[in-house]
């Protein structure tokens, strides 16, 4: 039982960052109809930006995390303005190919810039684990969970409680009518892509210090994000949140009770089952942003 609870806690910590990745990807798909194959690269960008701030600029750890999120937002906005806006109205295949190009370009830029050797990120948290009753958890991991929960809650408020979020949801439901109501569709697209990329960068910044940072680290992250989006239903914010947590927990349980080598296999087993049994996602009432 104690072992089980420990797996659940570890799963939540991992799942929180999966949810961040999934929320960004599902919003970009739902609102912009873009399959963002470069999503994992924004995760990598977040991790390297954190490294840059800490190791080279020697800033405070928390400032580095903010810088990482900002770098995702900025590069996401630039990417949307330069590459996706001219393709507005083109088929989903066209933008998908462009994003595959961005994926390759970003990953190779990281390789050129930082080299292929993995880097580790220092953090200010004490190493010895905290014990919470029967559970033990490294302070850094607890911080990662707390930060992920905060980012998810903030995103929820943005989408459900602000004018901007309302415009995003309206654009998702009916782009033409939203435009007729005065919603600036271009602006919504820029914001959505920047926001989704910022969340991915945030996830990378949070997990960077937990694991190590290397140029191809975004590939498995992007796969997880796609699993989460399929689990939760395309464009479904709450679905992505729950989907992320479910994937994190399932991976921990699979790694703990079967074998740690099966960690990634669990995700794929889930995705195959979902696609066979509930292809529109576990939580599909109607596909929606929100």
């Amino acid at each position: 039982m104690e072992e089980f609870l420990q797996h659940i806690l570890n799963g939540l910590i991992l799942g929180g960052t999966y949810a961040l990745l999934g929320i960004g990807l599902t919003l970009i798909f739902g609102i912009m109809n873009v399959v963002n194959f470069a999503h994992g690269e924004f995760y990598t960008l977040g991790a390297y930006t954190t490294f840059l701030f800490l190791a080279l600029l020697e800033t405070n750890f928390f400032l580095a995390l903010l810088g990482a999120v900002a770098s995702g937002i900025l590069l996401g906005a630039i990417c949307e303005r330069l590459l996706l806006r001219p393709l507005l109205g083109e088929s989903i295949d066209t933008t998908m190919l462009v994003m595959i190009g961005v994926w390759i370009a970003m990953q190779n830029a990281e390789l050129t810039l930082w080299g292929g050797v993995a880097k580790s990120i220092d953090h200010p948290f004490p190493q010895p684990p905290l014990t919470l009753g029967p559970l033990s958890v490294a302070p850094l991991r607890l911080f990662v969970l707390g930060a992920a929960v905060l980012l998810i809650a903030g995103s929820h408020l943005l989408i459900h409680r602000t004018r901007l979020g309302r415009a995003m949801r309206a654009t998702f439901q009916d782009r033409e009518t939203a435009a007729l109501m005065g919603v600036d569709i271009h602006r919504i697209h820029t914001v959505t892509f920047a926001f989704g990329s910022g969340l991915a960068a945030g996830a990378g910044a949070l997990l960077g210090p937990v694991f190590v940072v290397y140029p191809a680290m975004g590939d498995p992250a992007a796969l997880k994000a796609f699993v989460v989006v399929i689990l939760g239903g395309l464009g479904n914010f709450a679905g992505a949140t729950l989907g992320g947590l479910i994937l994190g927990i399932a991976e921990e349980l699979g790694a703990g009770y079967i074998s740690s080598g099966y960690r990634d296999a669990v995700g794929f087993a889930i995705i195959i089952l979902v696609l066979l049994l509930r292809p529109s996602g576990l939580f599909a009432r109607a596909e929606r942003v929100g």
């Binding site: 439901q173 009916d174 009518t177 007729l180 109501m181 005065g182 600036d184 569709i185």
Partner: protein, 219 residues
């Protein structure tokens, strides 16, 4: 107030508008009638900026608007109430909030809509769609088939509301399948056939026109 000059537009290789010219003067209620697929909806979409003009011009109060975005066109005072109502399906609370705001702009809607709880009937959705377009306080209202899919009693209410909107000084360009009712209440009309204006004139004359009678008024 509004004039289309040789307007061309289409979807990919399909040319939906092949040089449409029409005018709407301040205070008028003008109707655009025609068979399915004639290009009526495309005309309204081009005016409100949803469909890019590939040729010709659109002038609103003397200025070209055919290169503006839908948002900019709305800001200039043209609101488009789209075909099929296109209400945002969302939670009941949000709909009730919207209804209340619409009612403050248009008290006549309040009587109708205070009765509403939760989901809306087709007629109520149409009121909401028209009211929603009015929230931008437009000077020109584009209506696309406001009577589509409504029961006869509701069609009458809808047309009564449109007449009231017009009496309040809003200029109206209305697309309708229901040609007889549309021509009866309009000042002038245009008849559209396969992407072109086939006939135009005072609504009273069009009702009497032999071709219009045969093709659109059922006899």
């Amino acid at each position: 107030m509004l004039s289309l000059e040789g307007l061309r537009a289409g979807y990919g290789r399909v040319e939906a508008l092949k040089g449409v010219s029409l005018d709407v003067r301040p205070g008028e209620l003008v109707t655009l009638i025609g068979a399915n697929g004639a290009g009526k909806t495309s005309t309204l979409k081009a005016i409100s900026g949803l469909l890019r003009a590939s040729g010709g011009r659109i002038l609103f109060e003397g200025a070209e608007i055919h290169r503006l975005t839908p948002r900019e066109i709305l800001r200039r005072g043209i609101a488009h109430c789209p075909e099929g109502r296109r209400i945002f399906r969302t939670d009941a609370r949000a709909i009730r909030e919207d209804l209340e705001r619409v009612c403050t702009y248009f008290p006549i809607l309040a009587e109708r809509l205070r009765q509403v709880a939760g989901t809306l009937s087709g007629g109520e959705q149409q009121m909401l769609a028209i009211g929603r377009a009015l929230m931008a306080r437009p000077r020109l209202l584009l209506l696309d088939e406001p009577s589509l899919g409504l029961a006869p009693a509701l069609i009458e209410t809808t047309f009564r509301i449109i007449r009231e909107i017009r009496q309040r000084g809003v200029t109206v360009l209305m697309v309708e399948q229901n040609a007889y009712v549309a021509l009866r209440m309009a000042d002038r009309g245009y008849v559209m056939e396969t992407g072109e204006i086939a006939l135009e004139g005072p609504a009273g004359d069009l009702i009497e026109n032999a071709h219009v009678k045969r093709a659109y008024l059922g006899g």
